[in-house]
Symmetry: C2
Subunit: 365 residues, 2 copies
């Protein structure tokens, strides 16, 4: 699968642009503020029906305009797919596949698999466990609809249980039967969520390790571990043994809503002990492992978007990374860089089709 042609009108800093792409490597080169990343974001819209950066669609309309349009012509399984995304101020976003409008945007998700690697990924290291759970959940949900439903049910029951704990505290009462009712309903989806996260991460780890070792030339060792209360104990037992604590704190202190991913470098926490380059390499390996996972599920190469990928990496890691992505293992790739000279120098060494686009303040040459 690849994106053959992209056409945008009034999207972010672009008035109008049309681009024909190479099925392999496409590189957007330009000065700061020229709009390189905005082109990646247009491609992201065509896959996920939304911006990678700004969740408010209307703010992605070019300043002073009333609408934007993004259109992509994809080749997939030897057929054309025309994807249209239109957004008018104060109106619902329109999404069409081959001129037929989707009734639900969710029906489109999955048609154009895509992995975006961006400096923004650093929140996976710097922020709390909630962001790491959301990363895991978003990947699993892409291929397992039941998982998403279990998540929704789990969170709803959890809210009920927490509300009941608060009522106990406020009224000074305790009603075992009511609590058991919520416990029973929490346990089933909780166990399924735990099992699926565990399976997913177990499959991810060896691929992640392989990528990290390759890019870093085995210079340091890293690990990725799934941490969950449910790992060593039965959820039912956990809930009853934490009852006293839950009553005092007035919320549920155990369960899959406390799961986390633990990242280390040379056996120390990555956040505190990893250098900026090591953290960047870690995120790269993690997202490339995600790429492999989605590729296997779909039996199709996702689009790979690499935003500002050369940042913070030393020259050895950059060349390793590029050797990697130019292999046949990957499909179509979009890269942004500020440095034309560096880009040309690196790409010309690869024996693979590539195209460079010079981006200047919302115009492309």
């Amino acid at each position: 699968m690849y994106l053959k042609n992209l056409s945008i009108v009034n999207f972010k800093n672009y008035e109008q642009a049309e681009l024909d792409f190479s099925p392999k490597i496409n590189c957007f080169v330009g000065l700061n503020g020229s709009g390189k990343t905005n082109l990646l974001d247009a491609v992201h819209y065509l896959s996920f029906c939304k911006s990678f950066f700004n969740p408010i669609d209307s703010q992605n309309i070019r300043h002073g305009e009333e609408y934007f349009v993004i259109q992509g012509l994809f080749f997939k399984n030897e057929a054309e797919e025309n994807i249209y995304c239109g957004m008018k101020m104060n109106q619902k976003k329109q999404f069409k596949r081959n001129k037929k409008e989707y009734s639900r945007l969710a029906d489109h998700i999955g048609l154009i698999p895509l992995v975006m690697i961006s400096p923004e990924d650093s929140f996976l290291i710097s922020e709390g466990s909630e962001d790491r759970r959301r990363f895991v959940d978003s990947v699993i949900s892409q291929y397992d609809r039941e998982y998403l439903e279990d998540l929704i049910i789990y969170n709803r029951i959890l809210q009920h249980r927490n509300k009941l704990l608060k009522e106990f505290a406020n009224s000074g009462t305790y009603d075992e039967d009511s609590l058991e009712l919520w416990n029973d309903q929490l346990i089933a989806p909780g166990k399924k969520i735990h099992e699926k996260r565990k399976q997913f991460i177990e499959q991810l780890i060896p691929v992640f390790q392989k990528y990290y070792e390759y890019i870093s030339s085995g210079n340091e060792s890293v690990s990725l571990t799934y941490q969950s209360h449910l790992e060593n104990e039965d959820f039912k037992t956990l809930l009853s043994s934490s009852l006293r604590k839950d009553m005092i704190l007035q919320y549920t202190t155990v369960g899959t809503h406390k799961d986390d991913l633990i990242f280390t470098v040379n056996n120390f926490p990555l956040k505190k002990s990893g250098s900026q380059g090591q953290q960047k390499t870690f995120l790269l390996a993690l997202k490339l492992a995600q790429f492999d996972f989605i590729k296997n599920i779909n039996n199709l190469n996702p689009l790979l978007l690499l935003d500002d990928i050369f940042d913070k990496l030393d020259a050895i890691r950059v060349s390793k990374l590029l050797a990697l992505v130019s292999e046949n293992h990957f499909g179509q790739i979009f890269i942004t860089d500020t440095n034309l000279e560096r880009t040309e120098q690196i790409l010309s060494k690869l024996t693979i089709d590539y195209q460079v686009f010079n981006v200047t303040k919302g115009a492309i040459a």
Copy 2:
């Protein structure tokens, strides 16, 4: 003023290292994870008695060791200053100037003025107003002790006032006299804080603008504005007109604790509309303006630490920045970079003394 010699033992990934510096430009070059930024952090310790990155001193001891020592030999006003920082596990940090131990670390702050520019600065854009107030407060506090005291008093009175508002709500009562008592005590320091922030930012703006325009070649326009409730109205009037709202929300909704700095690019919010390169340029210009400010206050060139400064900037901005810092306007500078070739190429064009240190896994050549 400049740092002539640095000696470190068991600091972060260094077992032992000793470096002699150029009074002008010093560049640490090395692969990812080699320990370039840790050298900057050692210099930061000698100025601020703490790490720029990790506030827990004991975590900056090399893994498996029991202590670290950082020593710096400075030349300042034609005299030598020997600064010693020693940290033993489970003991108080020791700080000495010319072999004499400080009784309070606060007495050392200001002796070695220093400005650090780091990728971490991006929190000034991405995070809430509290972080921007802390930036402003930390600069003003460096030269105005009274300001720091006013801040402490203001925050204490604010807590009392908020507590009283909660008591009103819980007991369903209202006591005008008690509230007036806190109001009166809040107004005096509040007005002084506002005046000093205003003065500081008014002085900062033209310098900031000059730097931004120079680095970006005037490619886009940016602005920096001080936003405060006290700007257009008297604090006393504000407090009485927001009384109803304060009572409902049970905290003080107006005052200098709600001040903010507003950042824009081409008249749109920098956070949403600025590209990564524009945001980086903005932070650079802001910190360079801070440099000028501290330089003028001290009548002395602060040390300038530039961590990963070439990241995200296009080639034009990088060369502008380096032309700038190699002027006589700046004093001693420390730079980190992953790319030896790029560094040599850029520095060799400058007609200024520089030294390059090759950093390899905690060793320096």
